[in-house]
Subunit: 234 residues, 2 copies
């Protein structure tokens, strides 16, 4: 079984949350737009019929089935490849946590694009400056307190204890992204369980190989987590 | 089987998407904060342990199981009460559409709160004015084109044809909300399949009774869909 992943080729963005789970589980996939370019992605999106993705990332399965929405793709993969809990109520709670990650990621994007995604950052810097203050002061602690508490439930290092799930690989990326975007603010905060899960994810065999490869994209100022020093604490 | 729904008592907001599915399926539920007030909701949230809701709405099942995130609650209810497709791939595509609705709802809220949810609208009106222009001009058509196309797949009136699902009740609420928030802009647009699904949802027996009852909350300027004339087209 092989998968085709479609996502913008030059940013980690939302696609990276899917990549990390695929790599951790050592599942074969083709990263289509990294091979063929962004235009091929736009063309592929336009050519789809039936219930179509609203936006990338989306994943195409062998039989042509196409699934979109980051948290939804991860829930689908976890079920097929057994990297969830294997118990309905706990799997539902993992998906719920993954949807909380989705909300955080959307808010991160809105920090540098508060007015409109279609405008450049430079066209909405005043609103972004104010949005960043609120995000740093109240939203980062609110989200990270929530995830830190979830990591306490089974004692860590992973959300379910000894076994990694799609939530852990996403929390890794959240911590990496926030550190990239807000190094000063993050240095003021202390989340020992989130640090522990970040290290534990880096030691998953598939992730270790992935992070050392050229498949892993660095953060940059076209992506979701962007480092604009003026948006960080002083 | 009975459910406890927890959501802010004075706005339709995200809770209404859950209510509509419960009412359409004629499932018993207690609307806890409407009986006990917002403080009771805050207390209940704070008292939860284990994997906790990040925010309302959340639903508590007989056995104490608690599930949050609007689209996720709807997927859970559809599975238990058979108002999805009953076929895995199609059910996944319905959840995907429901997650697209979630994204739209988040963007609607960001129109009047572009800078921070914690500030009043009056403190971010300039950014909101600009955000509303972009939302009206490009985001409304982008989302509604997407849903209109999904309604074409099986020929309507519902997404799956003759049988309603949680996506249809949500599309009803989206259309009602957008009409309330942007009456002028919506009058310029023509989405015959979305109009058809809106009428068809209003004829579901449970919905007809609900809309005539005092359980149905009207839109207002504390909610997600808010009518501020300055944010609409002229």
């Amino acid at each position: 079984m092989s998968y085709q992943l479609w996502y913008w080729p030059d940013i980690p963005g939302r696609g990276e949350f899917v990549r990390l789970a695929l790599e951790a589980a050592e599942i074969d996939y083709e990263d289509m737009a990294r091979e063929k370019g962004a235009e091929a992605l736009v063309e592929d999106m336009a050519s789809r019929t039936g219930f179509k993705p609203f936006a990338p990332p989306y994943l195409v399965v062998d039989d042509g089935f196409c699934i979109a929405q980051t948290a939804h793709i991860l829930a689908f993969l976890a079920d097929r490849h057994d990297f969830g809990a294997g118990e309905l109520e706990i799997d539902l709670q993992l998906i719920q946590l993954q949807l909380d990650v989705t909300d955080l990621v959307a808010e991160v994007h809105s920090v540098h694009h508060p007015v409109a995604g279609a405008l450049y950052y430079q066209e909405q810097m005043d609103a972004a400056y104010e949005a960043a203050q609120h995000f740093r002061d109240t939203r980062i602690p609110k989200f990270l307190d929530h995830f830190e508490q979830a990591l306490e439930v089974e004692g860590g290092p992973f959300v379910l204890g000894d076994r990694w799930t799609h939530v852990d690989t996403s929390l890794f990326q959240v911590m990496e992204g926030l550190d990239y975007m807000f190094p000063n603010r993050m240095a003021e905060l202390d989340y020992p369980r989130l640090e522990l899960v970040r290290s534990a994810v880096m030691e998953i065999e598939g992730i270790e190989a992935y992070l050392a490869s050229d498949r892993r994209l660095g953060f940059n100022e076209d992506g979701i987590f962007r480092h604009y020093p003026e948006l960080d604490s002083e």
